[in-house]
């Protein structure tokens, strides 16, 4: 079921792009980039909804009425929850609007990940599975095996560059950095020191780069290409909305923003 709905179509799309590109050296890396762009375009409405939902929640954190009920019912969690729900309802805010699109995208990310690894099939058994995955219209004899070379990388292996005898995992570093930049840019600023949303975002901006960096360090570099492309597109998309918080990239940038907001 999972294969039929997610893996097979994704793998075939990836291979089709690879075939259209001429299936030579470096083309699978390019196919992953184009494939990621395509996925990003398809999921653009979901991302936009996520940004909008996060923005609404962020604005709510700075709202006077919201802050008042936090103080007033600080010791009565049940009442606080009731009041929060009332405000959500009155203002037409869906508190899950920012996380639901992420949850929906999660299977897509896993599917993409599996598609890339399946397409790279490194064992006879994997190759046999790939053969059963490919739709009849594909130029299967021509495109198999995939050329996994991309720039200096073998997309089927974890990447590193030897510098002075030390294997520097450049892609893992770039993945961690771009993930950090993306999460920092989208991190909400809040004048409320008890703003749990901002605190959660702050934690995410630390844990996510570490997690994805760990993936990049240990898994096929084709996945890293996906992460980097996806992060770069995410940054561009968010910047295009004019809401990117570039100050967050600076040390203490968020605090400055908070104090500025307070002065106002």
């Amino acid at each position: 079921m999972w294969d039929t709905i997610i893996i097979n179509p994704m793998t075939n799309l990836l291979l089709w792009i690879y075939d259209v590109l001429g299936h030579g050296p470096h083309m699978f890396g390019l196919a992953i980039i184009l494939f990621t762009i395509l996925i990003k375009v398809i999921t653009w409405p979901l991302n936009a909804s996520q940004v909008k939902g996060a923005q609404a929640m962020q604005e709510l954190q700075n709202d006077k009425e919201w802050q008042e009920i936090q103080k007033k019912y600080a010791k009565d969690k049940e009442k606080l929850a009731q009041e929060q729900m009332r405000i959500y309802k009155e203002r037409g805010i869906n508190p899950f609007a920012s996380c639901l699109p992420t949850l929906i995208q999660f299977p897509i990310i896993i599917g993409l990940y599996q598609s890339i690894t399946r397409a790279l099939s490194i064992t006879p058994f994997d190759m046999l599975k790939l053969a059963r995955t490919i739709y009849p219209f594909q130029n299967v004899e021509g495109i198999i095996p995939l050329n996994s070379k991309f720039l200096w990388m073998d997309l089927g292996r974890p990447e590193s560059i030897q510098i002075l005898g030390f294997a520097l995992p450049t892609l893992a570093i770039i993945v961690a950095l771009t993930t950090y930049v993306q999460s920092k840019l989208t991190m909400p600023t809040s004048s409320n020191p008890n703003d749990q949303s901002a605190q959660m975002s702050g934690m995410m901006s630390i844990y996510m780069p570490l997690l994805l960096g760990w993936f990049a360090l240990n898994f096929a570099s084709g996945i890293s290409i996906y992460f980097i492309t996806s992060n770069a597109l995410g940054i561009v998309q968010y910047a295009a909305t004019g809401r990117a918080n570039w100050r967050n990239l600076l040390p203490g940038g968020n605090k400055n923003k908070i104090s500025t907001t307070k002065k106002k």
Binding site: I122, F125, M127, L128, P145, R157, N218
Partner: protein, 357 residues
């Protein structure tokens, strides 16, 4: 807040687990078994271990390594040499190439190559006390019988999944890059690469002044030693296993489950025998019986006219080529309760081998 932090970390850990479970690393996580045999033992390469199995009773004689090493995985067909070595390379996260004592399983030597980054899926070929070992990194390594590099590796390109074939003066090596490479043994130079039209995962078979090679182009090509080549047979699906040449008769099979017999003198097809499932393993000819192992886990004996003599459900899926030793036909099913089964020529199961935990 602590609870939320815990939830967040748990979700991230779950995500990591999910993605990890999808197996994306270059380390080979699964493949079917390799199989070889001499008069006393069968040798099964199966994941973390190479097992020696007593042919008289199916009991384990030794395993290598004694304790599982997470960096080592074995899937290639082990190869026995005339001077009493058992050769096999690792397909795990590290890729040492081992020489074992076939009687005891003790390591004679192991060699890791500085240039070699690929897994060992192909068996080596020994010619004139020289080991020719094709690797998935696209190089063929040339070693002496002590594992030392006898000459520079020969760069062929593409992943090399199968053992070379030789007529004594030339080496023929198939590659997933669609080519059959011809190497002059005298100077170790690869001077011809013949495009087969599709990836070639199995060894070619030596014919008269050339080789027969199957490929994912669903063809069998005859490639002469001078590089001239012709398609001698076409099927409707990939040809994965090696063909067999017996006199003027060429036997081969495809993923559609069809077994073919071709008269190479006339170019006419003698017969085709349709099985119920895909055939990945190479065929095995012993005496007057042609053994066919299917993906569905059946072992079938055909006579030379393509008529079914017997058919036995072995279990699991069979991708590894059956091996004959004495009166036994050995089959190594994948994803079965046992790793090896032995049958006699009448199709009676002699024993099965289940590795102890």
């Amino acid at each position: 807040m602590k609870t939320k932090r815990l939830i967040l970390i748990s979700l991230l850990a779950l995500g990591a687990l999910l993605l990890s479970a999808c197996s994306g690393s270059r380390a080979i996580s699964n493949n079917w078994h390799g199989l070889a045999a001499d008069a006393e033992h069968a040798y099964v390469s199966s994941g973390s271990f190479v097992y020696a199995v007593d042919l008289t009773n199916g009991k384990e004689v030794w395993r290598f390594p004694a304790e599982a090493n997470s960096k080592l995985l074995f899937y290639a067909n082990p190869v026995l040499t005339a001077d009493g070595q058992l050769l096999i390379g690792s397909a795990g996260t590290t890729h040492p190439f081992f020489s074992l004592n076939p009687a005891t399983g003790k390591e004679n030597w192991s060699e890791s190559f500085t240039k070699g980054k690929g897994a060992w899926l192909a068996s080596p070929l020994i010619v004139n006390d020289t080991i020719y070992a094709p690797n998935t990194d696209g190089f063929m390594y040339v070693l002496d019988m002590n594992g030392k590099e006898a000459s520079d590796p020969i760069e062929l390109g593409g992943a090399l999944w199968s053992a070379p074939a030789t007529d004594g003066s030339l080496l023929y090596v198939t590659s997933l890059d669609h080519n059959l490479h011809i190497i002059d043994l005298a100077n170790g130079v690869s001077d011809q690469s013949i495009d087969l039209g599709g990836a070639a995962p199995s060894s070619p078979v030596i014919g008269k002044n050339g080789v027969y090679a199957g490929s994912f182009a669903s063809t069998i090509e005859f490639v002469q030693s001078n590089g001239n080549h012709d398609v001698v047979a076409t099927t409707n699906n990939w040809i994965w296993g090696s063909p067999i040449l017996d006199g003027d008769t060429l036997f081969y099979a495809d993923l559609n489950g069809k077994v073919f017999s071709l008269d190479i003198a006339s170019g006419n097809q003698n017969w085709e025998a349709v099985q119920s499932d895909a055939i990945v393993a190479s065929l095995l000819l012993v005496g007057d019986q042609l053994y066919v192992a299917t993906e569905a886990g059946n072992l079938i004996a055909l006579d030379r006219d393509g008529k079914t003599v017997w058919e036995k459900p072995v279990g699991g899926k069979i991708y590894s080529t059956p091996v004959a030793s004495g009166d036994l036909i050995l089959v190594a099913p994948y994803q079965a309760e046992f790793s090896l089964a032995a049958y006699d020529a009448q199709g009676k199961q002699a024993w099965t081998f289940i590795p102890e935990k």
